[in-house]
């Protein structure tokens, strides 16, 4: 995949680009946001051109260092420069670029009066094309002449590095040679010493070894092309037409590979991976499905995929990335798999900050950054739920939130391809990092900044679509009634026959509620059963809800609906009961929060509550209610 698949698509991107204000201070921030979208090469060029028109030399005060990058090459590179600059913009870094006159890189390096010297680069990218690097290599060569040619090419590369460093005293990034040559022998190409394909393999290996000694970094487009397919990176017809070795279509990715190196050099790579739990680290909802019910481990393809993701996260942690957890859960439920599930790869001790509660995730992520004492702009947050991803993106634009599907096999790919954790070396300290954070963990109370939730909810365009129980929904209704544990006030379990009886009872109603928003359909998210008593009280026999939609005003909106339906049956009051179980502690005060009066509490911790319908005023929410 050569597109920037970990970045979200912004539907009105073209319009937002055209609407960029000429007021330079806000234009930069808005342009950074536009750079963090899944851009193709044309839109990348548009964004670059626009921001350079508004900001010819970049904003004055940036927290990042401005970079003057000279790109030295032997073929056409002009089409890659906008993508490099936009990759800087994506990270809040201003990059100016310089490209040598066609083919003149050595002359310009050696000439102190050249434009290259006048540019005064603070970083150098050496991008020599594969045809240049294999000039003179031919299958007619024997081993000795091929070895001599390799040594000579190494010397030439080293000469470029030395000239660049002596002149500019700045870091050098060397582009690995693209393996575009076709084999002449076949599977055993390595037995043809003068094969260009084999020569490029040897050269890339030799240059990497040399780079270790010289302190030069490598831009590994050879590895990247091996993953994507060389055909995605190099188009032979285009090479003949315009001498572009890397196709313009792949330039956004090429630019991003350079951009993450620039950021890493400034110490601006991400440092911490924050994990959601349910349906991210394991399949299913621990609070509802329990330890035996979640998909994790050998035996199911899905369970194995979650294991594979956990293994990748652990590998990251072993090379110095801090792991944290941010989950909407009871803490006891959330911790249980870490301590008791035999197939959990991640253990409690791998997690430096563990936050499981029912508060909104933006506030919790702030708390995690504070607890770990690292910048909030060094966090990456991965969550399968588009609602949570977009809430965090809106509230905390400096946090990286990869766009992922509900398929866990894509999670490691998204993290790796995004290059969030681009590192330049690995130290002993890196290998011990998580345990350090565990040791130093600050326990002070955390004041969480206030998130502007109402504006987010308003923008969600939520619709609550409700209808009475029906035959079509019956199977799903029974399934939810027998599976939901956490947000379930009475935890009454019913069979198909019980549900049919509710449908037939004129003094009862069963409601199924679906929630849609601009990110899609959340499916059936709540079930209500109300029963009219002889004294005209409407008893709320069942109220259960999916925890996915917590904190979105679904509860008061549902109450409005219950009140409306109860009145239709002639009810005067609503009676809501909470029957405690091991798992439903989160809804203990559900009715009190909605304005019910507590009438009695039981020894077991339950309560019974009353709401007078005559004096009830429906709550105003951002959810549009529709009967459907």
């Amino acid at each position: 995949m050569t597109e920037l698949h970990w970045l979200p698509t912004i539907p009105d991107w073209r319009q937002r680009l055209r609407d960029l204000p000429s007021d330079t201070a806000t234009a930069w921030d808005k342009a950074v946001a536009l750079a963090n979208a899944r851009l193709n090469f044309v839109h990348t060029n548009n964004l670059d051109e626009t921001i350079r028109r508004l900001h010819p030399t970049g904003p004055e005060a940036l927290p990042t260092k401005k970079v003057r990058l000279a790109v030295l090459g032997s073929s056409t590179l002009t089409h890659l420069l906008p993508a490099i600059r936009v990759a800087g913009l994506r990270r809040g870094i201003w990059i100016d670029t310089y490209e040598n006159d066609y083919g003149q890189y050595l002359q310009e390096l050696a000439d102190p009066d050249s434009d290259l010297h006048a540019f005064k680069p603070t970083a150098i990218l050496v991008a020599l094309d594969t045809y240049h690097m294999t000039a003179g290599i031919t299958a007619g060569m024997d081993q000795d002449s091929a070895d001599a040619a390799l040594a000579e090419m190494q010397d030439r590369v080293k000469q470029v590095w030395t000239l660049a460093r002596d002149a500019f005293k700045c870091p050098v990034l060397h582009q690995a040679t693209l393996p575009v040559h076709l084999p002449v022998l076949g599977n055993n190409e390595h037995r043809a010493p003068g094969s260009r394909a084999w020569f490029v393999s040897r050269l890339n290996q030799a240059v990497r070894a040399m780079a270790e000694v010289e302190g030069v970094d490598i831009l590994s487009i050879d590895d990247r092309a091996a993953r994507d397919g060389i055909g995605r990176w190099h188009d032979t017809a285009l090479w003949h037409r315009s001498k572009q070795e890397v196709t313009p279509g792949v330039s956004p990715l090429y630019g991003d590979l350079v951009g993450r190196w620039v950021a890493a050099k400034q110490g601006r790579s991400y440092k911490c991976l924050v994990l959601d739990l349910d349906n991210t680290v394991w399949g299913g909802v621990i609070g509802d499905d329990g330890l035996e019910g979640i998909a994790l481990g050998q035996g199911s393809p899905l369970g194995e995929a979650y294991v594979a993701f956990q293994e990748y996260a652990r590998e990251l942690s072993r090379r110095g990335i801090i792991l944290a957890v941010c989950s909407k859960n009871e803490e006891a439920n959330a911790v249980e798999p870490f301590e008791k599930h035999p197939d959990m790869v991640l253990k409690r001790g791998d997690i430096a900050s563990f936050v499981a509660n029912w508060q909104n995730k933006a506030d919790n992520i702030r708390a995690i950054a504070q607890e770990l004492n690292i910048g909030i702009d060094s966090l990456v947050f991965i969550d399968d739920n588009p609602f949570e991803r977009n809430l965090v993106r809106q509230e905390l634009p400096m946090v990286a939130v990869p766009e992922v599907s509900d398929d866990p096999t894509g999670y490691p790919v998204a993290l790796a391809d995004a290059g969030y954790f681009e590192g330049l070396s690995i130290t002993d300290e890196d290998r011990e990092r998580t345990s350090q954070y565990q040791g130093n963990k600050a326990r002070e109370a955390l004041k969480s900044a206030v998130t502007d939730l109402p504006s987010y909810l308003r923008g969600l365009e939520m619709e609550l679509i409700w209808k009475r129980f029906d035959k079509i929904g019956q199977q799903r209704i029974v399934q939810l009634i027998n599976k939901s544990n956490q947000f379930n006030l009475t935890t009454k379990r019913y069979t198909d026959e019980d549900i049919i009886a509710v449908m037939a009872d004129p003094d009862a109603f069963g409601l199924q509620l679906r929630l849609t928003d601009r990110f899609g359909d959340n499916g059936i998210i709540a079930i209500i059963i109300g029963r009219l008593q002889d004294n005209k009280d409407l008893y709320i026999d069942t109220w259960l809800m999916s925890c996915r939609v917590l904190g979105r005003q679904v509860e008061p909106t549902t109450l409005n609906l219950i009140a409306q339906e109860a009145k239709k049956l002639g009810a005067r009051r609503l009676v809501g009961e909470y029957i405690p179980t091991k798992k439903n502690g989160m809804v203990k005060d559900h009715y009190a929060k909605l304005g019910f009066t507590v009438m009695e509490t039981t020894e077991a911790g339950g309560n019974r509550n009353i709401l007078d319908l005559a004096s009830f005023t429906p709550a105003e929410t951002f959810i549009h209610v529709v009967e459907g």
Binding site: R14, R18, N40, F41, V42, H43, N45, N46, E49, T50, T78, H79, A237, L238, H240, R241, S242, Q244, T247, P248, G249
Partner: protein
């Protein structure tokens, strides 16, 4: 042709993006000479954007035969037929 009209609409958006000019009007007779900045690199951008948009691939002979916007539209029409 109806198919041509649809291609013109999509192609207009591509031209607006490539040249960053929303006032550009496409006609079959329009050629590179008449549009400021339409050089060989912009030509490649247009071609690649078309290939991405319609999921097609032009070969070297086809590209060499293009003289005007009308040529491009009829080529796209043939390749997507």
């Amino acid at each position: 042709m109806a198919a041509d009209a649809g291609i013109y609409d999509a192609l207009t958006e591509i031209f607006h993006d490539v040249f960053m000019r929303d006032d550009l009007k496409l006609t079959p007779e329009l050629t590179a000479k008449q549009v400021q900045g339409w050089d060989s690199f912009k030509q490649i951008e247009i071609i690649m954007a078309c290939e991405e948009k319609w999921g097609i691939k032009f070969n070297t002979r086809e590209l060499d035969s293009l003289r005007s916007v009308g040529d491009l539209v009829s080529l796209i029409n043939t390749k997507t037929a």
